[in-house]
Symmetry: C2
Subunit: 285 residues, 2 copies
């Protein structure tokens, strides 16, 4: 059991982590701080956290584990603020969707990623944000990816692994570079694509009819375009090269399909659609 | 109440229409035929239809309303087969996702869209197909779009409207051209985009990890890529120009976003994301 947990930025992810740990007797005291006092207040009122502390440095002093659950772009600043306030055995981890930018920032700042910092990414979420959207089962059977470096302390790694396993997640380890490639494909590119479609359609003169007449397919396809803008701006700014590479390859695929449309290539279109359906059906219900 | 209804191709849409009508005492006898004898057999065994007839021409002889629920590319052939077999007061309608290609085909074949043919499109569905995926509430609170022409008989139009209203759908009328523009934006383009993404990712060397590590966002985004390949090939071949126009404008939007990524345009990305979120949140839960 974690004696004292501090979550910095207890939104959908941080809040759900706390709820899952509490439900499984995995944590005793939860302290949180946030730039967003309104969200912090909600977290207290909902009983998700036990103590709210406005000052980040103060909030981590008793912590055994600190989870930085802010958007990617704020993690380094938070870490710099808390680093010298921590107890000797404290472990720090994050939940960011991009790992290499942070790893490189920490290396640039400290010569290496500090031993007690375990880069992590729970691959789970919804399009909602804020602590009021959090729920205990968010991580059940989901993957949590840890991307330790050569410098990561094995005991710190184990403590972060144990914490996530208590939420029902499957914890795996992976190289940070590989993580960022995989996530650019499964998550970052799709978000860019969905945001682009909603942007395009909202600027059309037919836009009112379009959104009124959209059915379930469009609702599901565009769901991720309801995700938090700050979070996704930060991800795009942090994993830019890999996202652009994915996007380039996607644009080539679109050009191929446009050619098939232009040439009325019945067989070609059928093959692409049938194969995509087969692949997707093999992986999802 | 419809005395005799014939559905040609009783899959997800045709089957759900029949179930909804039966649940609301909207139909007495349902006959169906299909090229897919396996599906026809299932429809009988599930009790969705009362009579299965293999021969299309024979299947419509007693019908008061005939619903052609085949993929778009097969509708004209079916209509040519049944036209001279119909009772004098029979009405024919379809459920295709593209309206102008059929309207033009009928005009080319008969000089005008026959008075008793009501072009229709229920804007509802799932990524599943086949009669076993059908359910009575599929059309509840969904839109059904009728695109009558100047030649459409008002009584035929009313009978098709009444039929769909019995399913709980909201029936609206619209110009066929406008319908095809709206649907290219809300449905046809998103399907092409989802098929393209699954195709791209499945061809990558990281593909196994990609599909294993994909989370809920990707599952929702790519759901429509599990749709029936024949149906979507036909739609792409029938609404080609409008889909290509939408695709072109989408590619321009992607190029704009790629430029923002390249230039690390933090403010620009935030604005696009925040605005898209606002628009989507305003239209969906």
């Amino acid at each position: 059991m974690i004696e004292n947990l501090t979550v910095i930025g207890p939104g959908l992810i941080g809040g759900s982590l706390i709820r899952a740990l509490k439900e499984n007797n995995g944590v005793k005291n939860v302290t949180a701080c946030s730039r967003n006092m309104n969200n912090l207040d909600k977290a207290l009122k909902l009983g998700v956290i036990d103590t709210a502390i406005a000052d980040t440095a103060t909030a981590v002093r008793e912590a055994d584990i600190v989870v930085i659950a802010t958007p990617v772009g704020a993690i380094l600043e938070v870490f710099k603020t808390i680093k010298d306030q921590l107890k000797p055995q404290a472990v720090v981890t994050d939940v960011g969707s991009v790992k290499m930018s942070l790893i490189r920032e920490l290396q640039a700042e400290y010569g290496d990623v500090p031993q007690f910092f375990v880069p992590a990414h729970p691959v789970a979420g919804t399009e909602k944000s804020g602590v009021e959207a959090s729920f205990a089962s968010l991580f059940a059977d989901r993957k949590v990816i840890l991307t330790p470096t050569a410098n990561t302390d094995p005991d710190s790694l184990k403590r972060v692994r144990d914490m996530w396993e208590m939420t029902g997640a499957k914890v795996i380890e992976m190289d940070g570079e590989w993580h960022d490639i995989i996530l650019s494909a499964t998550s970052h590119l799709p978000h860019v694509l969905a945001y682009a479609l909603v942007t395009q359609l909202s600027s059309m003169q037919e836009s009112e009819d379009i959104f009124t007449l959209a059915a379930g397919g469009f609702r599901d396809f565009s769901r991720i375009a309801s995700s938090d803008a700050t979070m996704w701006r930060d991800i795009c700014l942090s994993n830019t090269d890999k996202i652009r590479e994915m996007l380039k390859s996607y644009q080539l695929q679109l050009a191929k399909m446009d050619k098939m449309l232009k040439e009325q290539d019945s067989e070609g279109l059928y093959k692409v659609f049938a194969n995509a359906k087969k692949v997707r059906d093999a992986h999802f219900e």
